[in-house]
Amino acid sequence: MDKKIRVLAAKPGLDGHDRGVKVVTSALMDAGMEVIYTGLRQTPAQIVEAAIQEDVDVIAMSILSGAHDYLFPKVMELLKEKGVDDVLVIGGGIIPDEDIPALKQAGIAEIFGPGTSTEDIVKYIKENIKR
């Protein structure tokens, strides 16, 4: 476990709310992880491409616009197409509880809503990465 955990923090879709993703990025870096933040307006294809290129252990996506129902599963679908099955994928943002089962069904491991402590995210990643 000497190798640092590598995380891709991503903003899929057109949403510009990046306060949360930036705070989480800073917290993960403070916790000793290497984090690559994609910036805004990433398509699912760009996110998957970046995840493979950067050889990350985790993809952490944030959406507050309501487009999670399309974009999160799309990322999972493309990962599957590319044969990537060793990356832990988590999501956050304004995501109604009733949407969570479908997202988990699609392969998103966990959803972190408003008010989540960054310490909980750090802990979750450490306990659940697939290596």
Binding site: V23, A67, I94, P114
Partner: protein, 558 residues
Amino acid sequence: MQNINQGLTDALNNWTEGVEKRLGKNPERKQNFVNTSGIPVNRLYTPVDIADTDYLSDINFPGEYPYTRGVQPTMYRARHWTMRMYAGFATAEESNRRYKFLLEQGQTGLSVAFDLPTQIGYDSDSEMAIGEVGKVGVAIDSLKDMETLFDGIPLDKVSTSMTINAPAAVLLAMYIAVAEKQGVPPEKLTGTIQNDILKEYSSRGTYIFPPKPSMRIITDIFSYCAKSVPSWNTISISGYHIREAGSTAVQEVAFTLANGIAYVEAARQSGLDVDTFGPRLSFFFNAHLDFFEEIAKFRAARRLWAKIMKDRFGAKNPRSQMVRFHTQTAGCTLTAQQPKNNIVRVAFQALSAVLGGTQSLHTNSMDEALCLPSEEAVQIALRTQQLIANETGVADTIDPLAGSYYVEALTNEIYQRAEEYIRKIDEMGGAVSAIEKGYVQREIQESAYKYQREIEQGKRIVVGLNKFQVKEEKPTNLLRVDPTVRVDQIERLRKVKSERNDNEVNNTLAALRQGAGGTDNLMPLILDAVKTYATLGEICDVLRGVFGEYQQVSTLGS
């Protein structure tokens, strides 16, 4: 200048000594009291703290320079602030129904929320729009949708605020065209377009073009409206989103006014006189949690902008010197936990905006940390404003907190600290360059991270989140946007395209392309294009082709 006599100073020293002697036995709750801007909050404020404040030059009467006490001489004794709830979702038809509901409920102005594809200049059938159509606002693809949106709403009777930035010229053109169809001439239109691209780069994210052509479009709008739509607020220079992104109150004032300075400079460079467009500049601020800090912030912003416009730009028209502003309560302070507590948070925040002299106000709905606001939640939020206006008595006298040693001292402090930031930004070459260097973004994200750390370390209490928690059922029946909206919207778009005259569309788009490559004012060209039912996406694509697209600067990591 107030006279502080030795007697008062001695008495204060004695009192302080006495209090501090007892602190060993009865300690205060905290070692240091500090507000969100990092300003120490003293135990007590007295005349000593505002000894250097001169009533006439620093505070003065309402409607008198530097407008610290408000921009109008009678303020809410003449008319309450405009109650303006930001709304819009799904289709133009559905949003039109919500607007009519709000007007029936006593709302006095409209505020249009557009979906993200509209805000970023994509039609609903664009690949980039999948998943986003109608989600955070209404989808507008062409003039047809705009006609539906304002169907049965007389545009000479209602003022409309539109949260639109990069494609503001296109939506304003559509609004003018709808009014024309209603028989309302442009000079009768009142309202606001946000049109503030600089805070999109730093805080909100719905940019399209790079700064230079964006600033040109903005000054084209200033110049066009000064002649043709004289009562329209051509920009709403927004601190709201800067604050939502995590800034402090001082940073909110500083970065907003620094952006304001950049717009004024750009307009002057294009040959406009400051007093032709200055009176139509408006502002938009956040009402956050710290009650007195917020009130002082509004007062400080008025004083600082007045001095900037007068001293730096030589504005002579008093209206050019005034900060007229809209306020929205702070969405980022709402909790998903115990959402009914948000009603109370919003009420305090709204009260601070009113005590700070806002011209219009949006009160957030209690369910906004969960979803789009339901009709019931919106109604309570609107009622909160109506309660403040009609029951509390706070609107009966002007700027009632003036003269409070604390509020005046805090107003001075925020003023000075914001001025210091603006000096720093000036040294970097102004707001555009400070944003291009990532300075503003970094300052904001550092404040946001600090705020979050304080919550997680328990230094900052959020009721219901890190203290006073309960086990609760997750709310159900949240408002959802019907997923078929995109399909229906694409069908409408197809119909519009099949019924319009393609030759006219192509000709106006060609003229726009040529104009964008030159120096002509773009507004008349865009107006011609929207009237042929050229779509928002087609118009923005033409401009993308000429201007290119903005690439975000990275501000995280080493």
